[in-house]
Subunit: 337 residues, 2 copies
DNA sequence: TTTGGCACTCGGTATCTTTGAGTGCCAACC
DNA sequence: GGTTGGCACTCAAAGATACCGAGTGCCAAA
C-alpha cells in the first residue's frame, strides 16, 4: 500500500515522535540512517503521507505527528521483537520468586509488568465457565450465622455468609453440610438446586437457605476479576492534567476496562491504538494485550495501557513474554525449564 | 493560646484558602462576617500569626497561606459537624443496598466514601489476631494438586495450594482431610503443628505437606488488607503533575499506606496534616481516619486522603458516619435502624 | 524524479512594561 | 493604647512587542 520509501519515512517519523513527543520535521527524518534522500524529497513524501491520513500537522509551520492510522501501519510492520537481556533477566527472577495464591499472583504480575514497561498494566482473570463444584461445606460462625464455602474445579473458592432466623447448633450444621455436599458436589456452580426434604426440619431450613444463597449469587459473582498495577505511571505519560484525570478515572472502572479488553481480544487484535477502541476518555491511549493459558486453557488476559506514543516493540515483547510465563507459572507441575 | 480575634482571623484565612486555593489578603478577611475591624488591624494580627507560625507568605506582596500549624489549630477548633442532608441520604442508601462478601464490601465502601467526599478513600482491614480455625478441609484439584481450605473464626478464608510428589487418589485425600481437620480445628491459625504418624504412609505424606503449607504462610499472609477507592480524584486536588505522580504512586504502596494509617491511629489522632505524618511524598496531603468495629471489636480503619486544604468538616463527618455504618453493616444481625 | 534555494508561516521565547493586589509602617484618631 | 486611614513600596501575573528559527510549500534547475 505504501512504497518502501514512504514506509521508511513513516517509520522514522513514528520512532522519533515516540522518543521526543515533538512534531518531527523533514530534516531529522532525512538524517535518519538508511534514507539517502534530501529533506525536500522527504517533505514531498510527508505531504503525501498527510494526504493519505498517516500523518498530521499540529499547525502550518510545525513538523508532522503520526495519526492513529500511522501508528497502525507502524505497529503492523513491526518485526516481532525480543526483550532486552536485562528485562529477560527480570522476568525470570520475578517468576522464580513468584508463588502463592492466584489472586495475589495476578496482582503481583500486573505490578511487575507495569514496572517492566513503565506503563499501567492490567491483568484480567476470565470469569469461570460454569465450573463443577469440587467440595462444599457449611461452617458455623455464630449461633445464627453460617458460612457456605464451595471449592470449584479450578481451585477458586466461592463463599457466602448467610443468616438463619433461629439458632442452630453445630450438629445441625454438620448434618446440613453433609447433606448439601452430597447434593451439590459434582454439579455446576450456580445451577438451580432442588432440595428434597430430609427427616429433620432444622436441617432442611439450613439447607434451603444455603441453596438459596448459592444460586442467585452464582450469576452475579460471575464477572471477571481485574487487577490494575502501576496506574500512577499514567501520570507520567501525559502532561495535560485533565487527560491524566480521565485516564485514571477510567482505569478504576473495572467494567469498562474488562469490556475494552474483551473487545480488543474478540477482534483478534493484540494492539488497539487510540480511537480504534471506542473508549473516548482513552483516545490518547493504546492498549496491548495477550491472553494467558493455564494448562492449555485460556484463563485470562494480560494487558498494558500506555499513551498512543508508547514503545510498541518493547511493550509487545514484554506482554507476550509475561503472559506466557504467567500461564506456565499457574500451570502447576509444568515447570519445565 | 490565641486570643479570640486572632483565632477568628486564622479561621477566616483557612476557610477562604480552602475554598479558593489563593493566598488570602487582609481585605477579604476584614470583610468576613463577625469581624468588625479594619483591614489594617487584620494586617497587624496576620503579621503576628505569621511570626507565631500559623500563617506563611508565598512572597512579599501576596496574601497569607495557612501552615500545617495553622490547619492544626483550625481542625482542633472545629465543631463536630454533621453531614448535609443529601449526603446522609446517600449513606443510608448505600448501606441499605450494600451486602455480600467482606472484601467486596470494604472495597465498595472505599469507592463510595471517595465519591462522597471527592477525595481518595482507603479502607484497611486489620490483620486478624491469631484466629482459631473453625474448619479445615483438603480438596483434591488434580492428581498431585491439593487445596487446603481453612475457615477462621472470623469467617475469613485462608487457602493454600500444594503439590505433592506422587499421585494421590481421592480416598487418601479424604482420609488426610479428616485427620488434618481433627488435628487442627480449634487451634490457632499459623501455630506450629506436630503431626503424629497414622497407619497409612500416603496419608501421612499429604498431611505433613498440608501442615507445612499452613505454618509458615500463616505469618506471611498476616498482613492487613488495603482497599483504595477513587485514587484518580487526587489528580483534581493538585495541579503540579509531579505532585500528582508522587501521591498516586504512594497510594499504590500498600505497605506505606498501612503504616501511615496505623501510625496516625496509634497517636490517637483522627487527622494528620501535611508533614505531621512522616511520609514525604504526601507532604501536601492530609489524612482523616476513623476505626470501625465489628461486634464491638476494632476490625479496621476507614480513611480519606486529600490535599492539606481539604474540607475538613465535611470529611470528618463523612469518615465518622461511614466508619460507624460500616461497622454496623458488618456486625451481622445488629441491623437496628 | 530529485534537489537546492527561497519566501513565507507561526508557535515559542525573551524582554519590557503595566497593573493591581497586597504589605508594612506611620501618624492621627477615639 | 489599640485601631484606623493613608501612603509608599513590592512583586507576581498579565500584556505587549519583537524576534527567532524550525519547518513548510513551491519552483526551477539538475
Amino acid at each position: 500500500m505504501l512504497d518502501d520509501r514512504k514506509a521508511a519515512i513513516l517509520r522514522a517519523v513514528v520512532e522519533e515522535y515516540i522518543e521526543t513527543a515533538q512534531p518531527v520535521g523533514s530534516n531529522s527524518v532525512a538524517r535518519a540512517p538508511g534514507l539517502a534522500v534530501s529533506s525536500a524529497t522527504v517533505r514531498n513524501e510527508m505531504n503525501a503521507l498527510e494526504r493519505d491520513g498517516y500523518l498530521a500537522q499540529p499547525h502550518t509551520s510545525a513538523g508532522r505527528i503520526p495519526t492513529d492510522k500511522g501508528y497502525r501501519f507502524f505497529v503492523d510492520s513491526l518485526p516481532s521483537g525480543r526483550l532486552e537481556a536485562g528485562q529477560t533477566q527480570q522476568v525470570r527472577a520475578f517468576f522464580d520468586r513468584a508463588h502463592g495464591e492466584l489472586e495475589r499472583m495476578l496482582y503481583d504480575t500486573s505490578r511487575f509488568l507495569s514496572g517492566l514497561t513503565d506503563y499501567a498494566a492490567v491483568v484480567v482473570r476470565d470469569a469461570e465457565d460454569p465450573a463443577r463444584i469440587r467440595s462444599l461445606q457449611l461452617v458455623s460462625l455464630g449461633p445464627r450465622i453460617i458460612l457456605v464455602v464451595a471449592v470449584l474445579a479450578s481451585g477458586a473458592i466461592e463463599k457466602r455468609t448467610l443468616e438463619v432466623q433461629e439458632d442452630v447448633d453445630e450438629v445441625v450444621v454438620g448434618a446440613a453440610s453433609a447433606r448439601m455436599s452430597a447434593l451439590v458436589v459434582g454439579s455446576l456452580f450456580g445451577a438451580p438446586l432442588s432440595v428434597a426434604p430430609s427427616g429433620t426440619r432444622e436441617v432442611d431450613v439450613v439447607v434451603s437457605a444455603a441453596a438459596a444463597a448459592l444460586v442467585p449469587a452464582g450469576a452475579s459473582d460471575h464477572t471477571p476479576q481485574v487487577f490494575v498495577g502501576g496506574a500512577s505511571r499514567m501520570a507520567n505519560a501525559f502532561d495535560a492534567v485533565t487527560t491524566i484525570r480521565q485516564v485514571l478515572d477510567t482505569l478504576e472502572q473495572q467494567y469498562v476496562l474488562v469490556t475494552l479488553i474483551k473487545d480488543v481480544m474478540d477482534r483478534g487484535l493484540s494492539v488497539a491504538i487510540g480511537a480504534e477502541h471506542g473508549v473516548v476518555p482513552l483516545a490518547d491511549c493504546s492498549i496491548v494485550v495477550a491472553p494467558y493459558q493455564i494448562e492449555g486453557e485460556p484463563a485470562g488476559t494480560v494487558g498494558i495501557l500506555g499513551p498512543t506514543r508508547m514503545h510498541y516493540e518493547q511493550t509487545l515483547a514484554a506482554v507476550a513474554v509475561v503472559s506466557k510465563r504467567l500461564g506456565q507459572a499457574l500451570s502447576k507441575g509444568s515447570e519445565e525449564r
